[in-house]
Subunit: 226 residues, 2 copies
DNA sequence: GGACAATTGTCTAATATTGAACAGCGCCGC
DNA sequence: GCGGCGCTGTTCAATATTAGACAATTGTCC
């Protein structure tokens, strides 16, 4: 799913440096918990860089059903789809906690990357994004919801989690409703599967109510129920 | 779904020109119907340009279920995910008809784009890809299979179809099995839905057995069954 | 042109999934 | 500290979906 390869991490750092440089004179934007950074259809063509906090991206279908696409954390960039030139945001970006952001107009963003010779790196970054999404699509098409929930948990853990010796800790609070909107099923179903995972000791909650993912055990379980 | 905006079409033409230039001295690769261009795990890091024919991209899950990601036609580029540097193809590329291709090593591909000042254009192209895939993901998560089949047909029609006055003609032969692997359901189900669409006069087969999509009627129907 | 293979349309029973309901619980704001 | 609200865990009946099976048809290859 999310590929943790050294090369793309290296590029991410370079891009961060470049963007910090670009935005050092502009002040941060603070977005309170549950507030939107942008909503579907907004025309403002800017890219965002997260200094602190978490942002979730959600699309809503014509019937009003929600699909959560991603959760981004400190150091991540989002809103880069305005580079497509299609105009109008496709999704809504909402702060899951109080979050502070830097905003860069899409043109300036590209210029900065060009100036710092990061265009090829950014192409690689986007290619990884396409590859990840391809994986997500294949999972939605071919595997059942329990399996998908497992893979989604692993994906989130690898992207946002803090590593503990034998497990990964997820400090962001993600509701079952939100998981349902990522996995493509209903809330009661997520509840049942999470309970099952808990009974099998594949996940647990620590005293601070953080979700702990036991990466190896969960991976092994998912492989066993094929 | 597939966005037909003039800007990305313009870039596609520029890229085609650039690639034709790059490959004018190398001979075309001919791939017979049902033969593979590459399969999962192949290490060869090259990008392909389709001169003639169609190529389908398919991923296979661990249980052996298939997911068809895309069908590409003349003028399209595929295999560009090797730019991610992840190594190893994620999907299998198969010719649906006798197809002729030009092959460009991934490094040369980037150099050529850089030389022709097309890096930013390619970033835009990838951003459109990400946006399209995002749409596909949202559909898989939020809408039912009949609706998804409809949207998939529209997507294919817009990407590959020839325009007739009130409809779009799809000249590539796509089996129900393949549609099932795109939509994420079973073959009998596709059969039933296609029959229904036919009865409602949203699609039809012409004398040459080409599938005709009545874009407006189908769109209206999909909106009506929300 | 004939034989084989692949595709389609259809049916079923078994299974999975939905959506709605409701109680308990914990967190939040006041 | 209290009330309320949102989240969780669980249930259930109604519905949708799957995974076979099978003829009928079409296409393909000698």
């Amino acid at each position: 799913m999310i590929q943790q390869n050294p090369q793309s991490d290296q590029f991410k750092e370079q891009m961060q440096g470049s963007l910090l440089n670009e935005t050092k004179n502009s002040s941060a934007i603070n977005v309170g918990k549950h507030n939107h950074v942008y909503t579907v259809g907004d025309e403002r063509e800017t890219v965002y860089f997260i200094e602190k906090g978490q942002i979730k991206l959600v699309m809503v279908s014509s019937e009003g059903k929600e699909c959560m696409l991603a959760i981004h954390g400190a150091g991540d960039v989002f809103g880069e789809l305005c580079l497509s030139g299609l105009g109008g945001r496709l999704e809504t970006a909402t702060a899951m906690e109080d979050t502070s952001l830097k905003e860069i107009p899409c043109g300036k963003f590209l210029n900065r990357l060009a100036k710092d010779s990061l265009l090829e790196g950014f192409i690689k970054y986007l290619a990884v994004r396409v590859a990840d999404q391809q994986q997500v699509i294949a999972n939605l098409v071919t595997v059942d919801s329990e399996q998908r929930l497992g893979k989604t948990l692993l994906q989130i853990a690898r992207k946002l989690g803090k590593k503990d010796p034998r497990s990964i800790r997820i400090e962001v609070k993600i509701s079952h409703e939100e998981l349902a909107a990522m996995v493509g099923t209903t809330r009661p179903r997520i509840s049942v599967f999470m309970q099952r995972f808990r009974n099998l000791d594949l996940i647990e909650y620590n005293t601070e109510h953080h979700l702990i993912i036991k990466e190896h055990k969960l991976t092994a379980y998912l492989a066993s129920i094929l």
